[in-house]
């Protein structure tokens, strides 16, 4: 073991893009403030210097054109990585994503492909209020044709982004703003992480907890506390929501008989509802208790810190809900 290298989530993303840009000359970056500034969260830092302005394109504030131009370029062989600075701004580009990126392959009977990656960033935690803190992953899982990726640590971020870049379908790659500075183990040597392969972050026999993005770390911390109280939690991170690794989830629920889903997005119509339904359909007879969702409250994200914190699931809430279920 000579590779106990730790780098930040942002650095892992930069590495993934650097490696893929070196590997494939058709890969390029396009977005707001990604060149000179290096991305508002530093996720494209140094790439302009390394690859030049022809492959790292700073754009005007034109989200529809950023995604539209990415689609157009991809139709004739380029592999764009678009950055939408905040997922909240992706609303401006929804027509391009939903009506075009997701459907051009289908509507053309397979003649076209749209190999684009849309990197974007969401979530609460920086007191950025209602228009800069949302978790919108559920919007995209409801659009067939899109792949939806949500990494929870540096290692997954790098391996999944490399897979996303090589993939031939449009990928919505959602990063969490509170993860960019977090450090994690990333080996020097190259690796890729396949889509549709959940990661069991911790094994346990008493309850299955499925969580995504920033919530994974919170659940892992909560599970340490629960362990002391004799509750062994199995922590599953699906990593990609589309495709979803149903098999790993169902097998775990069959083993534990209990399941909690944790996400930051509002509870209503969230990813948790979809996962819970699938468990009900495929593992109902194995359940000893209802599937519980621990999610963001159904309100816009408020500005003030304690209010914002209260809206999102936290360690204490996760521990409490799991204890209630395991009584």
């Amino acid at each position: 073991m000579n590779n106990i290298r730790e780098i930040t989530f942002a650095e892992a993303l930069v590495e993934a893009m650097r490696e893929e840009m070196k590997r494939d000359k058709n890969v390029f970056l396009i977005g707001e403030d990604i060149g000179n500034w290096g991305g508002v969260f530093g996720a494209t830092k140094g790439l302009l210097e390394e690859f030049g302005g022809e492959r790292v394109l700073d754009t005007p504030i034109s989200e529809s054109a950023i995604v539209g131009a990415s689609i157009g370029a991809s139709l004739i062989g380029m592999k764009p990585i678009a950055e939408i600075m905040y997922i909240d701004f992706i609303t401006i580009a929804m027509d391009q994503i939903v009506n075009h990126a997701a459907k051009l392959r289908y509507m053309s009977g397979g003649q076209l492909k749209v190999p684009i990656v849309i990197r974007t960033q969401g979530g609460a935690g920086r007191n950025s209020a209602s228009q800069h803190s949302q978790s919108m992953e559920a919007w995209f899982i409801n659009v067939p044709g899109l792949i939806v990726v949500m990494p929870s640590n540096s290692y997954d971020a790098k391996g999944l982004l490399k897979t996303a870049i090589r993939n031939n379908d449009p990928v919505i790659f959602i990063e969490h703003k509170m993860l960019y500075r977090s450090k994690g183990h990333v080996p020097e040597e190259e690796y890729l992480i396949p889509f549709g392969k959940a990661d069991i972050k911790k094994s346990g026999d008493d309850i299955t907890v499925i969580s995504i993005s920033r919530m994974v770390d919170m659940v892992l911390k909560a599970s340490e506390g629960l362990c002391k109280e004799g509750i062994e939690v199995e922590v599953i991170d699906p990593r990609t929501l589309v495709p979803l690794d149903e098999e790993t989830i169902i097998n775990s629920v069959k083993k534990t008989g209990k399941c909690v889903i944790v996400h930051e997005a509002p509870k209503t119509g969230g990813v948790g509802a979809e996962i819970a339904s699938r468990i009900m359909e495929k593992a109902f007879d194995y359940l000893d208790a209802p599937v519980i969702r621990i999610a963001g409250l159904d309100v816009p994200i408020p500005y003030e810190k304690s209010l914002e914190d209260f809206v999102c699931p936290d360690e204490e809430r996760i521990i409490q809900e799991i204890k209630n279920l395991c009584k």
């Binding site: 991809s74 392959r105 053309s108 379908d169």
Partner: protein
């Protein structure tokens, strides 16, 4: 070249008319968006293009595809929902795609092909190719946000895009004049520091000349060009539209400016009628063959519903 133009215009007109007949017989289930009256724009522009150039078009795009070289049987089959259609019957009337002829896509979301065209132009530039991408849209598109974002980007990066605004006077039922204070839509070009021009869109020669004249600059990387071709949609927004928003006199007035007849009259000054009739008969045969081929083709099997959603998942 004029004869070739006439052949194409006549083919588009007759293709559209036959489509309407097929729709009347319930052989086309989607709603046809006929471009009868607008043939000179498609043909004037496409005649000035090279084989490898690209096109993005709209829900009213049959004529553009034919002018770029798509075989009529493949469009007939697609709009009838047949398995051997361009998109195996999955795209239909509003979503034609013929990659082989550089006919990338047509969109049913007004204006949204403009940023995509900028992206195609960007890829051409990045690959250091000399191709051009043409983006057709209607007068309704010039008031969308996508128009602004897309043209601004194409201008900013000097992308090889020819923007063609086919002003057929109506965005569905709304008059172009009641949507913008501009009388000439090509004036929008000034706001992006690019060149623009308004031409008679019912005169195929005017359209062709304008495109030809500016093509060298577009191809040479001097940036995009905005052409407004003023024309008229003789049929409704879609087939079955009552057209209550306009007078019969107005429609009849434009019918007298028919672009196909205009070219025909022009040609008859130079060549004899027999030659033109020969071309017309050839087109009729070609289209009959195409129609029959599509009619005799099978519908797609259900298995294809789940194909082409993703590449390899």
């Amino acid at each position: 070249m004029l004869l070739k133009m006439y052949e194409l215009m006549y083919m588009i007109r007759r293709f559209e008319e036959i489509s309407l007949e097929l729709a009347m017989q319930n052989l086309i289930s989607g709603r046809i968006h006929s471009a009868i009256g607008q043939e000179a724009v498609a043909v004037g522009v496409c005649t000035a293009l090279d084989r490898n150039d690209y096109i993005l078009s709209t829900h009213r795009g049959q004529g553009h595809a034919l002018a770029k070289g798509t075989e009529p049987e493949r469009i007939f089959a697609e709009i009838m929902g047949k398995a051997n259609g361009l998109a195996k019957g999955k795209g239909g009337v509003m979503h034609l795609c013929d990659l082989e002829h550089g006919f990338l896509t047509t969109t049913g979301i007004v204006g949204s092909n403009i940023p995509i065209a900028a992206g195609v132009g960007l890829a051409i530039k990045m690959k250091k190719k000399k191709d051009v991408v043409v983006c057709f849209f209607g007068d309704g598109a010039v008031n969308t946000g996508a128009f602004h974002e897309g043209i601004n980007l194409a201008s900013l990066w000097n992308l090889p895009v020819l923007f063609v605004c086919e002003n057929n006077q109506y965005a569905q039922s709304t008059l172009s004049k009641s949507s913008t204070m501009l009388s000439e839509l090509s004036a929008r070009a000034k706001g992006y520091n690019i060149k623009g021009e308004t031409v008679d869109g019912n005169d195929v020669i005017s359209v062709y000349k304008s495109v030809r004249e500016h093509m060298k600059e577009i191809r040479g990387g001097k940036g995009p060009f905005l052409l407004e071709a003023v024309t008229y949609r003789i049929r409704g927004h879609f087939e079955g539209d009552s057209c209550s928003y306009r007078s019969k006199e107005e429609v009849e007035g434009w019918k007298r400016k028919c672009p196909v007849l205009k070219l025909k009259e022009n040609l008859l000054k130079k060549i004899n009628k027999v030659e033109l009739t020969g071309i017309e008969n050839m087109v009729e045969d070609r289209l009959r063959e195409a129609k029959d081929s599509a009619l005799n083709s099978g519908y797609p099997p259900r298995e294809i519903i789940t194909e082409d959603v993703y590449s390899n998942l």
